[in-house]
Symmetry: C2
Subunit: 361 residues, 2 copies
């Protein structure tokens, strides 16, 4: 039995143990091929079936209707920051972004290389501790862009901004992909580095409405056009087979457990447990995010002093809980409690927080 820790890393992040066990079992002989999934040809019927099954599971679990293409891409959300404007910018129309943190800012920076950018709302005034309210986008926007969840600051969108019906809504869901049931029909393009909620680092999921595919300028490089990958079902070139395989195992595991509704229920319970513990600490622990903007995935909070913040992270590690140090932009602690984090892990953390407070207040 392998020694395991409670892994609160922000991403790459914890994966379900049954998925790791299966990947381990299949390492030298995957589906009776006599090869690892890393060694089979991406043009083989075995690989092809797995690759497409992973796409179908994304459609099924999220409820994407017909008219959308699921893509497996590379380069992380950071590459999507440039692919989005490369494909969807329209001369003379502003690209509209909401600035809710470090990742929004990086997306905005890349978009500026491709044309005019309008930041329609920002929460930078309060160190990104909230999601701006009543956000709406213009009729003449080339597209509207939001960051669904802000890993660093621990905030998440819990309402739908107003997007005119002709304006494509683009959402970076890297850190809240499938954390709750959402109305996907309002989204024109979703992208997510999968290394938080769906698999290991090395593949980027994108889901794009098919009418957007022909929009890329003809002179855009082949690999940077969504249409290239859509036309070949993400087999234009060799895909990151292992990372897709791991996503497929996670998707199967999620389906077996009850799909996104199951994980939403557990995620809400886990988050409530932890946020309640913070609120009920009499101010010893202090949450960074405004209550109505709190992330279900990344719980950010501070302690009375930096010394205590250092001490608690060290002590947590000694009791088998890792990845709890907050990002330097916020300080304090951050507990990332993605889909694969168990209720047990969160209970363990809550007990530890109470214990630490009792000893150190």
């Amino acid at each position: 039995m392998a020694k395991r820790v409670y892994n609160f890393n922000a991403g790459p992040a914890t994966l379900p143990v049954p998925v790791l066990e299966r990947a381990k079992d299949e390492m030298l002989d995957w589906e009776n091929t006599g090869m690892s999934v890393m060694e089979v040809s991406h043009r083989s019927k075995e690989y092809d079936a797995m690759h497409h099954e992973a796409m179908s599971l994304v459609k099924e679990l999220m409820g994407w209707p017909d008219g959308y293409k699921v893509l497996w891409l590379q380069g992380g959300a950071s590459t999507q920051f440039l692919m989005v404007p490369q494909n969807l910018s329209v001369p003379g129309k502003p690209m509209e972004y909401v600035n809710t943190g470090a990742w929004s800012k990086k997306a905005i920076k890349e978009a500026k290389l491709f044309g005019e950018v309008k930041v329609v709302a920002s929460s930078e005034d309060k160190n990104f501790s909230y999601i701006p309210k009543d956000v709406s986008f213009s009729e003449d926007a080339a597209f509207a862009h939001i960051t669904g969840n802000n890993t660093i600051f621990g905030t998440e969108w819990h309402y739908d901004p107003k997007v005119p019906s002709d304006v494509p809504l683009v959402v970076d869901m890297s850190s809240n992909l499938m954390d709750k049931v959402i109305d996907v029909k309002r989204i024109a393009l979703l992208y997510a580095g999968v290394q938080k909620n769906l698999g290991p680092a090395g593949v980027t999921l994108a889901v794009i409405r098919e009418d957007l595919l022909p929009k890329a300028p003809e002179k855009a490089p082949t690999m940077l056009k969504y249409s290239t990958h859509a036309a070949e079902d993400s087999l234009f070139n060799t895909p990151p087979c292992w990372a897709i395989y791991m996503c497929k195992l996670v998707l199967e595991y999620m389906k077996e457990k009850g799909g996104v509704p199951y994980f939403e229920r557990i995620n809400r319970e886990k988050a409530k447990l932890l946020y309640d513990a913070i609120e009920n600490s009499g101010g010893f622990y202090k949450g960074h995010a405004d209550p109505d903007s709190r992330s279900l995935m990344n719980v950010t909070f501070k302690l009375p002093t930096e010394d205590l913040e250092k001490q608690i992270v060290d002590e947590a590690k000694k009791t088998g809980m890792v990845g709890l140090k907050g990002h330097r932009s916020v300080g304090g602690m951050r507990a990332s409690i993605y889909n694969a984090m168990s209720m047990d892990g969160v209970k363990h953390l809550v007990e530890f927080l109470k214990d630490f407070q009792a000893k150190n207040q």
Copy 2:
């Protein structure tokens, strides 16, 4: 004991069994972290050490001198086809390419989006069955580009083209990376999808001379500049951690075996065995590549009829040898005998070829 086949796939390709065994063993608890290597933070000291060790091993095994940066990128060689001209094109100077097959052509196509391209030599007249002789590049070229090995056609460069000293030589080594000892100092930029000789699909190795780093235009997207990745040791964003880890295991395995000189010796023996068998078949098997251009990695050959070609691939599969069907551009058979293909595998194939000829001639 897992059932294994002899895997002659062109890529993704066979990996060393001891490497797979180790990846299997470490799946749930990597280096006493209590996590898989897929679950640790890319900012952790454990990951950082592994990531840098893999880079050091590339430098050590290939003999790169100081003044070069090793990069772990994403998007395969196909993305390098655009990154090379994006970073190294110079207004008013032609980008010079040699066209030795399908991958050269794709590289040329992308370069044309960035400026003037001159094809200084081509072997298209004879279905890419040879490497053009006495190739030289112009003094005024922005850069010189060759494809080191042509997976589809089974040809490989066995001499150094004439490159003026001020012109950077760019080499796509996707399918002959570390297959033999080379003089790396003549190369300014090497790139390779690793899924043939070094690891699984999902990471691209690049090695770039540092003086080339500042050449990208300021307005190039962040993720498409080599300088972005060089400045952060390929940790600007989340790297494809698993694929890099697998490369590190393969590099360690290679070092233990005796490094590139060991693999060159074995590769030459394997290739000789197979090419000799083809030559000594009295014309039943007919090699595609000219003898002086033969690849050490991909052995392409035809049979008297297409029916026999279909039959032999089917029969090979039944005896536990997979991936032998030739690419449609050449037809016939292709045996990819990368570093991880054992001498036993090649001997097995040679015996089978003799046997098949005896029964079917």
